[in-house]
Symmetry: C2
Subunit: 497 residues, 2 copies
């Protein structure tokens, strides 16, 4: 398939601007495309603005420096006005064939005849939708998923009259918006995605109807389990991996009999040898020679990243993980009593994680400061300046940092930090961290930090409060006779040039 000349879309028309149409408008605008929207909703402007605001925040977070200048948004008084000068038209009306067909009629009466019309239908057949069109060759389904500005999937499905050029150009256009087109090769009600979603949804409705589970319980059954895998691997690849070393064929042998069990209201097809062979062959193609062990590691890496990301949002499985971590910390044996304050404090250990490694194949520089920052937090907690002190409006801010990078650290290395108190007064705390690799005791880096005590409400320096100040003074005194460590008080050499 030749894509023909690349289509230059400067202006897009959005016809129908509910949740899906507004999402399209946002994706177009954030890609620098001007948009004219038509929808009869009297509250259109307010609702569009709200969706666009969400989209702008989300996409700016994802691609902080990459997005082009936003396109211009115009609300049109009619379908005709909206489509007249458009280079691409996206229709997102309710799922009624008659409504869509009559609107296509209005679109064609005003739009240029070569402009592609994409339909957001979740499952109506393009051959039927285009059947009354004057130029049906330019009609195609481009079915997105909510929120349209964030989810990459768009199903592309042509009808009998759709040209190959339309398909190729629509696919290239959607891809240029950051989307992942999935070509639906065989026209079928519900296409691919919604057939799968609809099966799950209808089974869920039966469960509610039969009083088996509530909507919340049904949602939990997905989001704490299979849903976490579905964010990056579909069912077939997941089951291939679940088959263990023997892969897909083993999985089908083991779970084939369950297809006869009443585990859903949907009857399964007969798992004939022919079907099993077809699945196993397609699954081999899909895996592309990557071993089960490698797929397991890939799956686990993705799950770890997603769980850690959800922990930051403190939501769903991330909230479970956060509570679990706190529970483990409570259960851990406490060594506080054994700390010798006359020696550098050993209060923080960690492990070099995969995403700490940069293009040079070693722990990247900002992670050194992250580890030193966590070690500083451990010291602050030790002297009583932890979260509850901060909640009372007092805190220490780092005002100056000096790091010497002496040796590299690789993924998986266990690290520990020891901290010497170089000095202090009522407002200041001068720390010197040594970062050591556990395995061989190698000194990897040093971090020297000046902290200033602040009144966090006034945002200005202030003396530390009673117990904290006493602890700082006690520690400073206990460590006063330690030798000044090598590298402390050093400046980066004078300019060389």
């Amino acid at each position: 398939v030749s894509a023909g000349p690349a289509m230059q879309v400067r202006k897009a028309a959005v016809i129908g601007a509910g949740v899906i149409g507004s999402g399209w408008a946002a994706r177009f605008l954030l890609n620098g495309i001007d948009v004219e929207v038509y929808d009869p909703d009297p509250e259109l402007a307010r609702k569009l603005a709200a969706v666009l605001a969400n989209a702008r925040v989300a996409m700016t977070r994802l691609l902080p420096d990459a997005l082009p200048a936003e396109g211009k948004l115009v609300i049109s008084p009619s379908v005709a006005e909206a489509v007249r000068s458009a280079d691409f038209i996206q229709e997102s009306l309710p799922e009624r064939e008659d409504v869509k067909q009559s609107t296509l009629d209005q679109i064609e009466a005003a739009a240029r005849p070569d402009v592609i019309i994409g339909s957001s239908t979740s499952g109506l057949l393009p051959s039927r939708l285009q059947s009354g069109m004057r130029h049906p060759g330019r009609f195609i389904v481009g079915h997105p998923f909510n929120p349209v500005y964030l989810l990459p999937l768009v199903e592309i499905c042509g009808g009998a009259a759709t040209t190959e050029a339309t398909r190729a150009r629509a696919e290239a256009f959607y891809r240029s918006l950051g989307m992942q087109p999935l070509s639906v090769r065989k026209e079928i009600d519900g296409f691919i995605a919604d057939r799968l979603l609809e099966a799950l949804w209808r089974e869920a409705l039966w469960l509610v109807r039969d009083g088996v589970a509530t909507t919340a319980e049904i949602d939990d059954a997905i989001r704490y389990g299979a849903g976490l895998r579905w964010a990056f691997m579909g069912t077939f690849l997941i089951y291939r991996v679940a088959g263990g070393e023997a892969g897909m064929r083993h999985f089908l042998n083991q779970f084939g009999p369950a297809l006869k069990l009443p585990w859903t209201r949907l009857e399964a097809p007969d798992l004939t040898d022919e079907l099993a062979d077809r699945i196993a062959e397609q699954s081999d193609d899909q895996a592309g020679g990557v071993s089960i062990r490698e797929l397991e590691r890939l799956r686990d890496n993705c799950l770890v990243s997603i769980l850690a990301a959800l922990r930051r949002s403190d939501f769903a499985a991330g909230a479970t993980l956060r509570r679990y971590g706190e529970e483990l910390a409570i259960r851990a044996p406490k060594d506080r009593a054994r700390i010798d304050e006359s020696q550098p404090l050993a209060l923080h250990q960690t492990t070099v994680l995969a995403d700490w490694i940069d293009y040079n194949g070693h722990m990247t520089e900002s992670r050194y400061l992250e580890v030193f920052g966590n070690a500083t937090d451990a010291v602050l907690e030790y002297i009583g300046a932890g979260p509850s002190y901060v909640a009372q409006g007092h805190s220490y801010f780092t005002v100056e940092t000096h790091i010497r990078h002496l040796e590299e650290a690789g993924e998986g290395a266990r690290l520990r930090v020891t901290t010497q108190i170089l000095g202090s007064d009522a407002k200041r705390l001068h720390l010197f961290h040594a970062l050591v690799r556990d395995a061989d005791g190698t000194l990897l880096a040093t971090g020297e930090h000046m902290l200033l005590h602040v009144d966090a409400r006034a945002r200005r320096s202030a003396a530390a409060r009673g117990g904290v100040l006493k602890a700082v003074e006690r520690l400073s005194k206990a460590q006063a006779s330690l030798p000044v460590p090598r590298g402390a008080g050093r400046a980066i050499g004078a300019p060389l040039a």
Copy 2:
């Protein structure tokens, strides 16, 4: 339900150690519980070690400092030996009622009568499995999801003879392992999760059988779309949000008619007023008063975090996003020609993201070094020492850093960095970054860095190569007459004490 005395599990027995049983063994061991495993597989030891190695890596990444000392693993020669001194028994045999029943018989012959037996069955009925047991009250289903050591969901389902104490104690035990128990209140084939998964899976098998789509296409239809949402919100909450401001009732009104369409082979229940009311009421309970707009923001935040996490793994939707970002960078207008090398270089801008904010309510210290590191990378790319230079085995490593934190930065602030070349020779590059808030030009921080040119293969210092060295010399010369910026060459004050 009173949980009774908390159950202390020091040793667990794992009966059946395929993918699921091995996953249980790993979760138990990583929680500090000793494990005895029985499985007739002659390759058991090797396979268990492989799963445990994966689990150890994954859980250490997630909870680097929190995990207790690992439990002890013993492979038992028989079911009886494995369960004799166990405080908890988990059965993970193939999904055959007769196999499970006869093994339960062997377990009961050797285990203490009060020890709970959890079954990993995906959907067999506990009332039937426990029907021949001597002490059926201690039998319960605890159905996990692969990989058991990472996914939190465990479905808890008792049979007619299961006691409330067993249910409460099993739930508390699974929860103590970091899991999220879901109580299945009504005993039903396939419980809740597998009924949903099985409906989707059977629909997928029909699509392959009918030649509509391949296994890879079906997987893509999930992982680039709805799968990303299912990682943290189930279908009901997602559809509530999709209803827009009008919520679940609007969604049901709009998509109710589609339940009659042939969008899956599974027939839907009639969406009677009673069923619609029940769903809307349960959905209101589930949302707990959180507005649609708030849920939208929560959904978008989770999606942004997950997409960013998958971008780091360069997999699935993360790979799409990575390519999109690169494509946008290529399309962005190039300003290279306009750079005045006699002034500090302005090569990097960024935005303060939500997860850069720490407990003090401002951009956390390690993110300053991350921004400076990215600004250094922009300079390196500018002088020709970017990715392709690194691929040839040459690179610059930062060996020393000095940061002064002058002002705070809040979420959403646009930042830019300008970089002055303080000096250079064949091996060294001395940079001084100024970090400025775009909105008001406030200087937030300075970063002074000494970089050393290295032979990345030998891992030792070496002179920069031709073109790069020339660019360094040209820049140094062009900026030689700039004044030394305030704060350069400064050491952190001598010890105060």
